[in-house]
Amino acid sequence: MLAPVHHIVGLTSIVRERLLPVSGTVNVRMGQKVNPADVIAETSWSREHVLLDVAGKLRVHPSIADKLIKCKIGDQLAANAEVATSTGLFSHTVRTPREGRVVAVGGGQVLMEVGLSKVELKAGIPGTIIEVIPNRGAVIQTAGALIQGVWGNGKIDTGQLVNITESPDGVLSTARLDVSLRGSILLAGMVKDAETLQAAGEMSVRGLILSGLYPSLIPVAREMRYPIMVTDGFGPLPMNSAAYKLLSTNAKREITVNAEMYNRYSGARPEVIISLPVSIDPPSASEAQAFAQGLQVRMRRPPAMGMIGTIAALKPGLTTLPSGLRAPAAEIKLENGEMVVAPLVNLEVVG
């Protein structure tokens, strides 16, 4: 049976596609070295449209209105610009209510996109462009440590990692935050209240790496302008030892937190990337592998949820679990030496 792989790995090749949400201009070329803050592609797009009912306003048939309309698709019009004017003694003029670009004309109507805003796509990670995707973005390759999480608030930033928790089950509170942390990415354990998330924002931190987040804080976390990545899940969960060890030993390094929202279909996950200098590209981490004795795994559900262990043995056939359910299972030796039996579907390989 194939196991999903949760990447917590000290050195690997990391290849990431960075794409604009809509078509735009790509600013990079193949082989180019990029830094996290480099704008690799940009575009402008609008979330608002204005539909001008020219025929209705001029009280003419749509086919006549079409002949009176003076603009065409692609025209950039200023606010109050003339769109159409009726003929006759008492002529009327239809004008644009706002500045915008004409995107459709016909049926006696004009559709404009207004409120254009510029979108800049940053590289997010330091690396080399290995593929340019025309009009959309690029693929960047780097080498370094990769720590994936389970939840992210959709933001991305880069900064120096500061460990402000002494143990994997530490709790971040407002009392732990001070001005010396401004501009840093904090390895911070659990957060139990909204005030702490807001205080971190006011302190201008560049990111939070949390072990667990209370579900009631999700709306607040989404609103924060800095990235928040959760490594283990929801509720009072300590950070899994593999992630904690790797992150805490990389304190003071420049890291990227891409707190991308988890998408089970595309495979996008929130992640921390710590780029490291290498002379030869290390191998890429595999995305799936067969369950086997000796593999390091993380427990997704009780017992021992979140703990790291090693597959001591794969049990033959179906195993009756303490719940009474029967499923393919394995014996797991946890880090504390305890042995537990877990269904394979509740395990993910760490690597």
Binding site: Q109, G233, Y265, P322, S323, R326
Partner: protein, 587 residues
């Protein structure tokens, strides 16, 4: 397509679920079609594999080890037709429920008429209505355009206007759809189903046709104000859902090609079987199928001359679990738990489980939580589905679940229950059936696969249904009565085929069983007390004893009243739930 027994064609059926993919082989054994064996593997719609055909191949490989016969060749393709050496199968049918909920915009004229029909239509498959555009919509057309661009629906369902009726109003409603589709990148444009005024077909084609991912027409769901006909539109939408899945999920096209296009959404295939069963076996009672799994809760009911199919992705036990709290409270879920579990632990469970939908309960406490969640989800689904049941159906009280015979139960939460009694109790708590009904557990989740197979072989579903491939849990008697806790409400006597008897007295608030093994038939005599009603009127029971079929639990007498009123005191409630669990599941 051959369908007679003489041809004896084997048929492989594959169900691609959100969590698991099942491969089931049907073949002729001793002159009749039988369920032979099944293989299960984790579904692979999601990353890292992102290809549903991989999970299907794995499930088929597991089936191969059970039957000792090759079904997949060296190039990893299905061997079809069956070969002389015994490898391969003659046909394949596929059902699919995997994939993200289909974002749907509905367009119609009046809220209570065409938009209500559109809502019911979209409820027949794995959709979530993200936008509604109608005459009562106060937004301007450009705001409607912005809304569609922001929400990016996968599907737009347009209804409205009786045939030959309103056309100008519909035309106005179509404009924002056409313009928004025009602005979307081609690969993001929605599929459009038009099921409104049939006289508008040409105008719809000119306004939307070239701008939609695909444009489909079906007969008007509301040909007149008084008439609603959803069947043709449901059928068309089922095919559209498969097309949408082909766009969304890699590997769906491979399975569809192997199956020669015989692929249906799982819920639609279930609904088709229930409609068929209601036609063939229907009495004055309805036939009910309930299914709760990772992707959705599905309630399908067949009555004489009509049927309903309701799919509730929001009550699925997988990736949508965190959204369950939009529809219920933590306290309402926990009322079903036999353990003292805090609301915080439950909230964390819902969010954590939504991250890993395929994970299963390994501990007793995790099972108790998962079963409490499944109960409340199915309870909510049944409450919602009841609103769409026809008005003139058999019932004891209109406010209670109508009379059904039988009730078919499937889906991971019910069929994976460690003991049939646990599955039955979950069903009794959430569906709260009344009167006398047989409960059948679809342990191998065959019902949708039979529905999909019927397209190619119409004898197979009938013979498999009658072959004992389903587990009869037993006959359940649920009186409707008003009484005080602990007072006697019913005396039952079961006479076995060998002439021996078993008797039991049912008290209000309790559950009792009378053993009657599967395959046996007993004669049940009931004396109703305190005006209890099991469908023959208060205190009435037929003069002749009733023939009842045996099952894993025999005859189950549910004296907890309808609706079930759980004690407000948490400790007392948990004690009662433990007692009920002990009675039906022995734990």
């Amino acid at each position: 397509m051959p369908s007679s027994l003489v041809d004896g064609n084997s048929l492989l059926a594959v169900d691609v679920g959100a969590a698991n993919t099942r491969a089931v082989l049907f073949d002729v054994v001793e002159g009749e079609y039988r369920f032979v064996a099944s293989g299960v593997a984790p579904s692979t719609a999601e990353a890292p594999l992102k290809d549903v055909s991989e999970g299907a191949r794995n499930a088929i490989a597991n089936l191969e080890t059970v039957i000792g016969r090759s079904l997949i060749d060296g190039s990893r393709n299905l061997i079809t037709p069956a070969q002389a050496n015994g490898s391969g199968v003659d046909a394949l049918a596929v059902t699919i429920s995997a994939g993200p909920t289909i974002k749907t915009a509905i367009v119609g004229l009046l809220k209570e008429v065409s938009l209500e029909s559109a809502r019911r239509l979209t409820a027949s498959t794995y959709t979530r209505v993200v936008d509604t555009i109608g005459l009562n919509d106060l937004r301007k057309p450009d705001q409607q355009i912005d809304s569609i661009l922001r929400l990016r629906p996968d599907l737009v369902v347009i209804t409205g206007g009786t045939d030959g009726g309103a056309s100008r109003s519909i035309q106005k409603l179509l404009e924002p759809i056409g313009l928004a589709s025009f602005l979307l990148p081609e690969e993001k444009r929605p599929a459009v189903l038009y099921a409104g005024n049939q006289k508008m077909e040409e105008e719809v084609k000119s306004l939307v046709g070239s701008l939609a991912a695909s444009l489909h027409f079906t007969p008007n769901v509301r040909p007149s104000l008084e008439t609603e006909d959803l069947d043709p539109a449901e059928r068309e939408m089922a095919h559209m859902v498969v097309e949408i899945r082909k766009r969304q999920l890699k590997g769906v096209d491979i399975l569809s090609s192997w199956a020669g296009g015989h692929m249906l959404p799982t819920a639609y295939a279930t609904g088709r079987m229930v409609r068929f069963l209601a036609k063939v076996y229907g009495s004055n009672k309805g036939i009910l199928s309930v299914d709760i799994g990772a992707s959705a809760a599905v309630i399908s009911a067949g009555f004489k001359g009509s049927s309903t199919l309701n799919v509730y992705p929001q009550y699925g036990l997988g990736e949508n679990l965190a959204e369950l709290l939009n529809y219920t409270t933590l306290e309402d879920i926990l009322r079903w738990s036999m353990f003292d579990i805090s609301t915080g632990v439950l909230r964390d469970y819902l969010y954590q489980k939504s991250l890993h939908p395929s994970a299963i309960a390994a501990t007793k406490e995790d099972l108790a939580i998962s079963q409490a969640v499944a109960r409340q989800s199915l309870f909510l689904a049944m409450q919602s589905a009841r609103r769409d049941f026809p008005r003139n159906i058999a019932n004891i009280k209109p406010t209670l679940t109508p009379l059904f015979e039988p009730i078919l139960a499937g889906g991971s939460a019910l069929s994976d229950a460690s003991r049939p009694g646990l599955g039955l109790l979950l069903l009794l708590d959430s569906i709260q059936p009344v009167g006398v009904t047989t409960v059948i557990l679809d342990q191998n989740n065959l019902l949708p696969l039979l529905g999909a197979s019927a397209e190619q072989n119409n004898i197979l579903p009938v013979q498999v249904m009658e072959s004992g491939a389903f587990l009869s849990v037993g006959t359940v008697v649920s009186p409707v009565v008003s009484a005080s806790f602990g007072s006697s409400i019913l005396r039952a006597r079961l006479t076995y085929e060998n002439g021996t008897e078993a008797r039991v007295e049912l008290k209000y608030g309790g559950l009792e069983t009378l053993p009657l093994p599967s395959g046996e038939v007993g004669k049940l005599t009931i004396q109703l007390l305190r005006g209890a009603d099991i469908g023959f009127g208060p205190g009435r029971f037929p003069r002749e004893p009733m023939n009842v079929a045996g099952g894993a639990l025999g005859v189950v007498l549910d004296g907890r009243g309808r609706p079930i009123n759980l004690p407000a005191d948490a400790a007392r409630r948990r004690e009662l739930i433990k007692k009920w669990n002990w009675t039906l599941a022995g734990e």
